[in-house]
């Protein structure tokens, strides 16, 4: 691997926050407290869809111990304006209503009021005293139902965008998007085989173990401090600034350690409410969601429908491909239907592609990003269909993909042309893998699927400071959700030529470092890494200036090697190397403190590709699926810290296995969530799984000094179809609806039994 090329990159040192995290010293969102703090609690709609006729908070306000009560009256109206947040887009007019309902409650547990009181118990008692008058309306949850004429309408103003002629009546379809490459009608005429299927998925939650939590304190002069468990503290600052009409610099947000996010913590729920409660009460306000609230009221990933049609020649060359995707956005527009469409055929070089996407609102919490948002859903449909094609053509599923694999120069259906990518290399590694070369164990069958994610760049700011003793602090502004701190330190150490232990990475609050886009989009190691590398290069530039001054030579005559400034050659002069410690010691005389910094909007993020292989067995009597062996392969560009790259691959694969087998939101007839806890929202447990083998492929991204590609999101894209394809090969029955839980698999097997007995 990279070990041969680099001294630090590719090694596996201890992470800088390790000691704190294994001793309980590390402080997460709910671990912060301030003297005199109040406890904030939210009153939530019991109805999936209702007009809010009135809210009477008078009794609650009078309860001893209650110091503030807020409703939408306390939040300024917001314009109809879209702002980016993580990998999704949100409308401020919608977000203020998601944080605190105005005219309508649009999902069960939609916040309608909030209180701050001296104790938990009093806050809960106060909630019970708030009188809300609702007019219950018919609700709709399922995406296909929501799209029908006559479905209950969530928003009177919602006219479908992207459709011509512009509709005259509102509907629940917020948007239609179309991506076209070539001519699929002509393409299908050339096909010698066509496979067409419908697929569905259910909504799933990111499943972070730490509930949302924050602590907000507004002082009498209007300055605000917030501690929040978030993937983007600048995002939190920005939202609080806009939603509450507070100048941005007046707000200082400190990110706590974060107990999992996966995209779900790139938005705000509690923070603006906590700030308003703090403003009204004059005290700090701490708010922590219960697990029940997390499930009922925080944005999960959408469920949806995917229709796929693929046409190919008998030799496996795909000549045309279409898919139509409809995703639930939840209560407000903004599902990841865009990325679902763009990623759908991105793995393949197909001359004719047509993709249609629908963004559909329904009475559920507004969806939030979940690891490669949208992509797992379209991949479920496309990769299952490719597998059917492989079966019908009697082709090895990896060979079929190799035959059509995207490569440098492939033009995608959504516009860009790929630069250097590693899909072919990953497929070849899969084919050569010990797992793939071995026969499945008796009773087991094998499935293979692929996946893609663009990975993003976006804004990052970083700084590098030299201390008086020559040790270095690297300052950046991205919460560490997967080990990125260690990777940033590794890149800085590599660039500086000093030991990893001499570099301390710190995640600064919003007042202490320049703007940073969220931790998400698999961007931190790439974009923030780039900013860190650049700020270290800036530091080195300054160090050379200081050395030059010390030696009385031109800075061009100084080089940097192994952590020291050295003369470029003997013609410059015979000078002993100057280390960081030595330069720091004389810094006051050579120009002052020695710092470097950099800020950028990172371009050239490298797309990632993954291929997963599973061997599993299906108990025909019970429908229970047992995973026997699982291997995840992925092109990661360069594995900066291989242990954490492996961790991303393993974690994403297991989330995908859960999504495939047992995770789903179950609703009652009244639109209330039936399984709002870890007991019945069934995420994989340790005994459900074998070891997850990983094979790292490295095809360097030419646009990053260390070849980095984002790695975090790709691993959740292949598993759904990987598992579904194996089940199809194990049982002869093709599952098209997720999750493939035991009752569903059992029912599908029983339904197919007469047909299969006849075959």
């Amino acid at each position: 691997m990279s070990k041969q090329k680099y001294k630090w990159i590719g090694t596996r040192p201890d992470r800088p926050d390790g000691a704190d995290k294994v001793t309980g010293r590390a402080r997460f969102g709910a671990d912060f407290n301030m003297p005199g703090q109040l406890i904030g609690k939210v009153l939530r709609s019991p109805h999936a869809h209702a007009l809010i006729k009135s809210i009477d908070i008078s009794a609650a306000e009078k309860l001893p111990g209650v110091k503030a009560v807020v409703t939408s009256k306390d939040f300024p109206e917001q314009p109809n304006l879209i702002v980016p947040t993580g990998e999704m887009q949100v409308n401020l007019r919608d977000i203020t209503r998601n944080v605190m309902a105005r005219e309508k409650a649009l999902y069960e547990s939609h916040p309608v009021a909030a209180v701050a009181a001296t104790t938990d118990a009093i806050a809960n008692a106060a909630l019970a005293l708030i009188k809300v008058e609702y007019e219950v309306l018919p609700h709709v949850i399922d995406v296909a139902e929501a799209m029908k004429d006559g479905a209950p309408l969530l928003h009177d103003h919602l006219i479908t965008e992207g459709v011509k002629p512009v509709p005259t009546k509102p509907s629940n379809i917020a948007k239609r998007i179309d991506n076209v490459k070539g001519d699929t009608d002509a393409g299908f005429k050339l096909a010698e085989i066509v496979v067409e299927r419908d697929y569905t998925t259910q909504p799933v939650h990111q499943g972070y173990i730490e509930p949302h939590a924050c602590l907000a304190s507004m002082a009498e002069d209007g300055q605000v401090q917030i501690w929040s468990t978030t993937q983007g503290h600048f995002q939190v600052r920005g939202f609080c600034s806009r939603l509450l009409n507070i100048e941005t610099s007046q707000i200082r947000v400190t990110p706590t350690e974060i107990g999992g996010g996966f995209g779900g913590k790139t938005v705000v729920y509690l923070e603006p409410v906590a700030v308003m409660l703090s403003k009204k009460s004059g005290k700090p306000v701490k708010m922590v969601m219960s697990r029940d609230e997390v499930f009922r009221a925080s944005g999960p990933a959408p469920g949806g429908t995917v229709h796929v049609k693929i046409g190919a020649k008998k030799d496996g060359t795909i000549v045309a491909a279409e898919c139509t995707i409809a995703l639930q956005a939840g209560a407000f527009p903004g599902s990841p239907v865009g990325p679902a469409c763009w990623t759908s055929f991105a793995c393949y070089d197909i001359p004719n592609i047509k993709v249609i996407g629908y963004d559909v609102v329904s009475n559920r919490p507004k969806v939030a990003a979940y690891r490669a948002p949208g992509a797992p859903i379209s991949a479920w449909g496309v990769e299952s269909t490719i597998d059917i094609l492989a079966q019908e053509l009697r082709m090895d599923p990896i060979d079929l993909r190799l035959k059509n694999a995207a490569a440098k120069g492939t033009k995608t259906s959504y516009g860009p042309v790929f630069d250097t990518i590693g899909f072919v290399e990953t497929l070849e590694a899969a084919k050569k893998s010990e797992h793939y070369k071995s026969k499945p164990k008796p009773g087991m069958a094998r499935g293979v699927a692929a996946g893609f994610w663009f990975n993003v760049g976006a804004d990052s700011s970083a700084a590098a400071h030299v201390a008086e003793d020559g040790t270095v602090t690297i300052i950046s502004g991205n919460p560490d959700i997967g080990g990125s701190r260690a990777s940033l330190a590794l890149m800085a150490a590599e660039e500086l030529g000093v030991d990893y232990d001499k570099v301390r990475p710190v995640i600064a609050d919003t007042s202490s470092i320049g703007f940073n886009f969220v931790t998400g989009g698999s961007r931190v190691t790439f974009a923030t890494g780039l900013a860190v590398v650049n700020s270290v290069r800036d530091l080195i530039r300054e160090c050379k200036v200081r050395a030059a001054k010390t030696w009385g030579v031109d800075p061009d005559g100084v080089i940097w090697e192994n952590g020291c400034a050295k003369p470029a050659g003997s013609n410059v002069g015979e000078f002993e190397p100057l280390s960081l410690a030595q330069l720091a010691a004389t810094a006051g005389k050579t120009g002052g403190p020695i710092n470097g910094h950099n800020q950028l909007n990172a371009q050239g993020a490298g797309p990632g590709f993954g291929v997963h292989i599973v061997d599993l067995k299906v108990d025909r009597d019970t429908g229970i699926v047992e995973i026997g062996r699982y291997t995840a392969l992925q092109d990661v560009g360069t594995a900066i810290h291989p242990s954490y790259v492996e961790g991303q691959m393993q974690g994403g694969a297991v989330q995908g296995i859960g999504w495939a087998l047992n995770e789903e939101y179950i609703y009652s007839a009244k639109g209330k969530l039936d399984n709002a806890g870890f007991l019945d929202y069934r995420m994989p447990v340790a005994s459900d799984l074998p070891m997850i083998e990983t094979i790292i492929v490295e095809v360097a991204n030419p646009h990053h000094p260390y070849g980095v590609r984002g790695v975090g999101e790709v691993p959740i894209v292949p598993p759904l179809a990987t598992v579904g394809n194996a089940i199809a090969r194990a049982t002869g029955v093709r599952m098209t609806d997720l999750p493939m839980s035991p009752p569903r698999v059992s029912a599908a097997l029983d339904a197919a039994a007469p047909r299969m007995a006849a075959e």
Binding site: A121, D621, I666, R682, D688, S741, S746
Partner: protein, 290 residues
Amino acid sequence: MTDISYSSPKTIDEAVSAMVAAKGAGRILAGGTDLLVQLRAGFVKPGSIIVDIKKIAEMTSIEDKGGGSFRVGAAVTGMQLHDHATFGKAWPGVLEAVNLIGSKQIQGRASAGGNLCNASPAADSVPALVAAGAMVTVQGPKGRREVAVEKIPAGPGRMTLEPGEIVVGFTLPARPAGSSDAYLRLIPRTEMDIAVVGLGVSLTMKDGTCTAARVGLGAVAPTVLLVEAAAKALVGSKLDAAALEAAAAACRAVCKPIDDKRGTIVYRTKIAGVLLKRATAIAAARAAKN
């Protein structure tokens, strides 16, 4: 919530008095793995009195009475039962049923007594105790009595106990050589789920023929069922395919399940039959070693 009080009596008589004085507002605390979930979810009424029975020796002790007979206190934890030197050898089915309740953390606290008294139709320990022919010792203001375990649950969350009565322990009967038991449940994952179907079988084999059997079936009706017709189909047979199918059919016939977030009527009914066959095979294999 500040109106809820806590007490920890030292004798059963004290515990009974506390429950009587509470006039229906008393809640027994054994392992707390159901009670505290309800408490934290706001389902325990103000004015309730929590009566912690774990300071009472009879509630927390296990007695091996020989010949396979055991007395197990109502608050004995799953972990205690697991670690007991001889219980698991005599009653592997009852032990595995109790040990399936929740995680290992839950096992450090949960008890068969609590599992029974929570009266969930899907309780894991109850089908195995029913199959075992366990008798429950109940003590109340009118004194002690022994009740067959299958007579305790009255419906989801309800018991047939009189006001003030509490479950003190279980007695498992002595059995002849050639006896054993087994419990199987079906859950979607490998752990951490409530049973979609749970089935316990206890049987005695002699020279390859089944001479005695009891079948307890859970999660397919408002209470755990004693399936006498299934036992009848097994007794006198060599546990051949026809006998097993007849017993499985008997289990399917008594199912009165619901469609819910854990399973469908169709699925539960089918699985009842599947588990009968599999659990019987396991019990028979164990019995052959006794």
